[in-house]
């Protein structure tokens, strides 16, 4: 929020409110917010971090604020990237022009674990593969955003965005009266319409959409049931669906009901034991055949994961130029691949300034944050890299923006990132808000909830 020494204009209103409110009242509000969250029971893990499903993630009641002008630029960038990622997916499952043009190595695409040869040549309705794109961003300057990673499969965390907002509105109605904050509560309805807009050609009448969940033992089940409820659609598990002839049906008390669109929250490999893992009990036997013959739409499309791979990430700016003929609005973080001998040498020589991550790691585990590490930690990490270089990538330490955050001794700056949610159907829509994650420890750059990170409401102020 700080623009040099100055507070960014977007925060003026909210800071004014903080100054006018006595400290004791703020403390009371903070306790109230925590109690509300506990009562609602949002205790699922964000971003597939797994682990303790009953953990309460700290909520910070100080919002993250964008002006409309700031947001417009970010919106253009996210939409641009979402369009390019979808164009890439269509391309690599069809003519693969980008590989033929030599812009991306064939091995990286075709030998990628997430590439599904089973859907080559299949055209999903509208050519859309990733219907909900979650792009993780950090801000390093007034107009400078970097993309940390893309999430093209089933990005989670949107229920946090909605719940955070609801709690803020309940606790601070006066702030919502005086500030013109763009609403996010139409997200479920937008998502429902986006999914309906990609119903298969064989669909007759109003499309029937369901949410396919692995079941209540899954750490994100709260979000699954929450979203299904908000959208007014059925939440189903594999056993509730079956294939007959050309279509998929849902068992209901009134008999079988044809399903047109499946918003799935299970991984590709579990979708259909006749196409992927034969031991999957979570999926629907024959589903992939119905999908591939055009009888049902699966969102996100099977195989969409090849676009959000950490190694493919480095090529997204090239995709934007290749498919859209535009310059990328959002920047990629420079990434050194330790599998490359030249990069490895650079990384080992500059460990003190770099952030090093495991290629297949997530949740902020197993990272090295060079500037925050001791000489011994760096030396130990260097040995790990040398043992298996291909397993590591390195990025520069970014001067992440901070946002005022309530800590034990009052308001203090803490580093934040942002995941906005972009819907792609017949139209492309970016919800004006998102999930802001905050590193609650002073100076920490790790925002993952498994590493003590919290969440904040995200505001876009109308001009």
């Amino acid at each position: 929020m700080y623009d040099g020494e100055r507070i960014r204009p977007a925060y003026e209103q909210v800071m004014d409110w903080v100054r006018r409110t006595p400290a004791e009242q703020l403390a009371l509000k903070k306790a109230e917010a925590e109690a509300l969250f506990r009562r609602i029971g949002i205790t699922f893990a964000v971003y597939g971090e797994g682990g303790d499903t009953e953990r309460l993630i700290p909520f910070d009641m100080m919002p993250r604020v964008f002006t409309e002008a700031e947001w417009r630029r970010l919106e253009r960038g996210v939409k641009q990237r979402s369009r390019a990622l979808n164009a890439f997916l269509y391309d690599v499952y069809h003519r693969s022009e980008i590989v033929r043009a030599g812009k991306i190595p064939a091995d990286l695409v075709y030998r990628n674990e997430a590439y599904e040869a089973a859907v080559v040549g299949i055209s999903p309705p509208g050519g859309v593969y990733s219907h909900i794109v979650g792009i993780d961003l950090v801000r390093t300057g007034p107009d400078e955003f970097f993309v940390l990673e893309d999430n093209c499969r089933t990005p989670s965390g949107v229920s946090y965005m909605l719940e955070n907002r609801e709690i803020m509105m309940r606790m601070f109605p006066e702030l919502f009266r005086t500030s013109r904050i763009a609403p996010v509560d139409d997200y479920p309805d937008r998502l429902r319409r986006t999914l309906a807009s990609v119903a298969p050609g064989k669909c007759e009448g109003e499309p029937v959409t369901v949410l396919l969940s692995p079941g209540s033992f899954n750490s994100a089940y709260y979000e699954h049931s929450f979203l299904a409820d908000q959208m007014g659609i059925e939440i189903v598990e594999g056993q509730d669906l079956f294939v007959q002839g050309d279509f998929v049906y849902m068992r209901t008390t009134e008999g079988p009901k044809r399903v047109d669109v499946i918003y799935r929250r299970i991984d590709d490999s579990f979708l259909d034991p006749l196409c992927f893992r034969p031991d999957s009990m979570l999926g629907v036997p024959g589903l992939m055949n119905v999908y591939r013959s055009g009888g049902v739409t699966i969102c996100s499309a099977p195989g969409a994961g090849v676009a959000d791979d950490k190694a493919v990430y480095t090529y997204v700016p090239d995709m934007i130029r290749f498919y859209l003929g535009e310059e990328p609005i959002l920047k990629n973080v420079q990434t050194w691949k330790c599998s490359d001998p030249g990069d490895l040498k650079y990384v080992l020589e500059n460990l003190g300034e770099l952030v090093v991550k495991e290629v297949h790691g997530s949740g902020g585990y197993g990272m090295l944050v060079g500037p925050k590490s001791t000489r011994e930690q760096i030396a130990a990490y260097a040995e790990r890299i040398k043992a298996d270089p291909a397993d590591f990538i390195a990025q520069p330490t970014l001067a992440l923006s901070t946002c005022p955050t309530f800590v034990d001794d009052g308001l203090a700056p803490r580093h934040v990132d942002l995941r906005p949610f972009c819907l792609v159907g017949k139209e492309v829509h970016l919800c004006p808000g998102g999930l802001t994650r905050v590193a609650m420890r002073e100076g920490s750059l790790v925002v993952n909830s498994s590493q003590g990170g919290g969440v904040k409401d995200t505001w876009v102020l109308a001009d």
Partner: protein, 271 residues
């Protein structure tokens, strides 16, 4: 050559099944090596649908049976005119990049005894890709003796080489793994074979490997019979391993144990 095929698969269930769903790769497509004169797949009480051609050029259909069902009989019958293309797959439209077939599956990961076989063979395999493929195929024929019942559906290529025994599935997996280990795309092909008079009946349901050779395209190699597919072969489809290329992949839910009886007859019709 004119080949007549009759392939019956009978499932018997101890206790009635609630439902059965299968994905069929049972419809051969026209290529330079085979012209389909007539073909049918039938099963009493079953619904067929969700048919399409996949990226590998295979015709896929879906069969569902709503229970309770105790017995299912699938009858495949057809007549195919075949031609000898010396193993080369021509006139076949497919979209999947050959690079995909460099990636092993759990059945074809090159480890242990298989890697040793590659090392022992690769020196003698200098020269063209085609020469290398032939050399590998011969090495597999030698390394795995035909011995039904010694391996099972989940035996890996490396395990079969270690054991030194197996059936056509093991031969094909081993050859795929060897080819991939030296950078040649390779895959599993399933189909039918007109076998000699002395052959056992279940031999007619057959499998072999296809290796991608620069300049030629996909070329079939059958280490089980130490040859390349000719006019005695009918090709049903392909995949990275036996599971992916299986003519029938199915799931039965809600019943008891399953007894399977497969009969394949391939006969040459005199013209």
């Amino acid at each position: 050559m004119l080949l007549n095929v009759r392939h019956t698969t009978v499932y018997g269930f101890d206790a009635p099944m609630r439902f059965v769903t299968q994905s069929h790769r049972l419809n051969p497509v026209d290529t330079a090596g085979q012209k389909i004169r007539s073909w049918s797949v039938a099963a009493e009480g079953a619904a067929f649908g969700a048919a399409f051609t996949d990226g590998a050029g295979d015709r896929i259909t879906t069969m569902t049976v709503q229970g309770p069902v105790e017995r299912i009989e699938i009858v495949v019958e057809g007549e195919v005119e075949t031609f000898d293309t010396t193993g080369v797959l021509r006139g076949h439209r497919e979209l999947i990049s050959p690079v995909c077939y460099l990636q092993p599956t759990s059945a074809t990961v090159p480890t242990g005894a298989l890697l040793e076989l590659v090392r022992a063979t690769v020196d003698a395999a200098r020269g063209t890709e085609l020469a290398r493929a032939h050399r590998f195929s011969a090495a597999v024929t030698e390394a795995i003796a035909y011995a039904p019942g010694t391996t099972h559906a989940h035996t890996t290529a490396a395990e079969a080489v270690e054991l030194g025994q197996g059936v056509c599935q093991d031969h094909a997996h081993a050859l795929i793994a060897m080819a991939q280990a030296t950078g040649l795309p390779a895959r599993y092909a399933s189909g039918y074979l007109l076998s000699g008079e002395e052959a056992a009946e279940d031999d007619a349901s057959h499998a072999w490997a296809e290796i991608r050779i620069e300049g030629l395209g996909w070329v079939g190699f059958d280490p089980a019979n130490a040859c390349c597919p000719d006019e005695r072969y009918i090709r049903l489809g392909s995949g990275r391993d036996a599971r992916e290329a299986a003519p029938i992949r199915g799931v039965s839910r809600g019943g008891g144990a399953e007894a399977l009886d497969v009969r394949v007859e391939v006969a040459q019709r005199q013209q």
